[in-house]
Amino acid sequence: MAIAVENVTKHFGDFAALEDVSVDVPDGSLTALLGPSGGGKSTLLRVIAGLELPDKGIVRIAGEDVTAHAPQKRDVGFVFQHYAAFKHLTVRDNVAFGLKIRKRGKAETRKTVDELLELVQLGGLADRYPDQLSGGQRQRMALARALAVQPRVLLLDEPFGALDVKVRADLRAWLLRLHDEWPVTTIIVTHDREEAMELASQIVVVRNGRVEQTGTPDELYDNPGTSFVAGFIGPVANFDGRLVRPHDLTVLDEAEPGTREALVRRVARVGFEVRVQLLLDSGDPVEVLLTRREADALEIEENDIVHVRSERSFDLPVDEAIAAGEEVAVPEPA
């Protein structure tokens, strides 16, 4: 394991920000810490970086116990949500900072910095100051600065959180390519499930200072361990008291064994998917996701009577999962 966090507890006064947290991050992987705001993700990342001292527990990097090491001695690259750019230094000097501290030669420093600036596509902007860059450019500079010292691990705290949607998407794709090219073990903190699912090979769901579940994006999506994970990681619906994914409901023209009768209340065509709101014969509402092709084949229209069957359901409490899904929709305070 490149990074191992073992039974870490961290209190701020009476408040438990982390409670007996354990995480393993495989070498070269890209792991996401995902969860609602205030859950302790940043605290966990800062404990790994040495910016916070845990009350209990152990942090290992490449097998070595670094719990008592200062941040300077841990060999980690850290990228902050609000860039933490050195405002009084040019882009070039920002990126060169760690190398100058390590007293690398002038020529070597210049070469490394030039290469990194090319890699993060800031080659032409080396002599600018951070105020003269856009948010996305600043964050790429911060990444280059962290990578310059060839850290053993890269820690990113909501690196794209302060950027707008379009720039976020671009940077995400760019980060994936960068990680392919330069596979440093990386932990990225995010509260955005799409970002976590798209980037990470392993997701750790953190909530209320605890790890809810760890797994690949597919494992979490298909086999959520708790109803919170089910609702936080993907869409959920209440089908007759059972927890299902809306696309795991099949809609049929004719009754079959195991189907329930339902009235079509609304049909909304949103891009490639069709959201159908049904009223079950029990009087409970449920939303079903169909592809356009499925909807067309059914010729589904409002006020039709259809028959619904669930292909798969989770054996988990329904209400909590739906509440977790609503938590996702709450925008993060900037």
Binding site: Q72, A84, A85, K87, R102, R128, Q132, A146, V149
Partner: protein
């Protein structure tokens, strides 16, 4: 156009205010100082007593400013970044020299360091005189201008936040390197301004030094005390002339700061 009217009247009120309490009085001092002619001015400021007084002011300032710069930075770092106890208390205590009248400060110093003071007697018997001597004057000057650097630096440090410093740490910089390479460059304008105010205040200090110095002409008179002395003795041309030297020194300090700041702003703009 009521908006324009109110803007103009606001401007004239501000201008009138400045004229009445700043420009006209200070201007008059300059006028009176040079009224008898340059030669008379030069005689007034080059007399041995005047020279000695200016020299003492210089000494007090040159010691008080670096002391308060170092103390101010350290106190600001502790108040804003420190984790230990007493940060709030220190933050409040720093203001005491602003709140207490300099005369009271002077008296307090006499009570502690004077011949009959707390440990003044042991100091005197060991041959080190504080009160009615230079050390006491330096102490008084340092005390009265103690808050400026800390007061300027504290809000800037707060606004700066500690992310840049933490980033420097993760990049391998130790505390000392972080301070010199990140913190100090980030607070340099606030610090510069604090130093300027400290210097101007040190040059102008009167009340506390008046109490602790004993006011001995040619021995423990600083420039401000000398001016007051000459004024009381109806030696007005000399009082005006030395005042002009003091005022010019203070103005020079403030203008050099403004110039530096402007050059810095321009150099940043040219980079773009």
């Amino acid at each position: 156009m009521p908006e324009r009217l109110s803007r103009i009247s606001l401007r004239s009120v501000a201008l009138f205010y400045l004229l009445a309490i700043l420009f006209i009085p200070v201007g008059l001092v300059f006028f009176r100082a040079f009224e008898p002619g340059l030669a008379a001015f030069w005689t007034a400021v080059s007399s041995p007593d005047a020279q000695h007084a200016l020299w003492l002011t210089f000494i007090c300032t040159i010691v008080a400013v670096p002391l308060n710069t170092i103390f101010g930075i350290a106190a600001a770092l502790y108040v804003v970044r420190g984790k230990g106890p007493g940060r709030k208390a220190l933050d409040a205590i720093i203001d005491i020299p602003f709140a207490i009248s300099p005369v009271v400060v002077g008296l307090a110093l006499v009570l502690v360091y004077g011949e009959n003071g707390w440990f003044g007697s042991s100091l005197v018997s060991s041959g080190f005189q504080v009160i009615f001597a230079l050390p006491g004057m330096i102490l008084a000057t340092t005390f009265v201008c103690l808050p400026f650097v800390a007061r300027e630096v504290i809000p800037t440090l707060r606004e700066l936040g500690d992310e840049q410093e933490q980033a420097a740490q993760t990049l391998g910089a130790n505390s000392w390197q972080t301070f010199w390479r990140i913190t100090l460059p980030s607070i340099k304008w606030a610090l510069g301004y604090g130093i300027v105010l400290t210097t101007a205040r040190a040059i102008g200090e009167f009340g506390a030094v008046a109490v602790v110095s004993g006011h001995i002409v040619g021995q423990t008179d600083t420039a401000t005390l000398y001016v007051a002395n000459q004024f009381e003795n109806f030696n007005l041309p000399v009082a005006y002339a030395v005042s002009v030297v003091l005022a010019t020194a203070a103005l020079f300090v403030i203008f050099s700061m403004t110039l530096l700041q402007r050059r810095q702003e321009r150099s940043i703009k040219e980079e773009s």
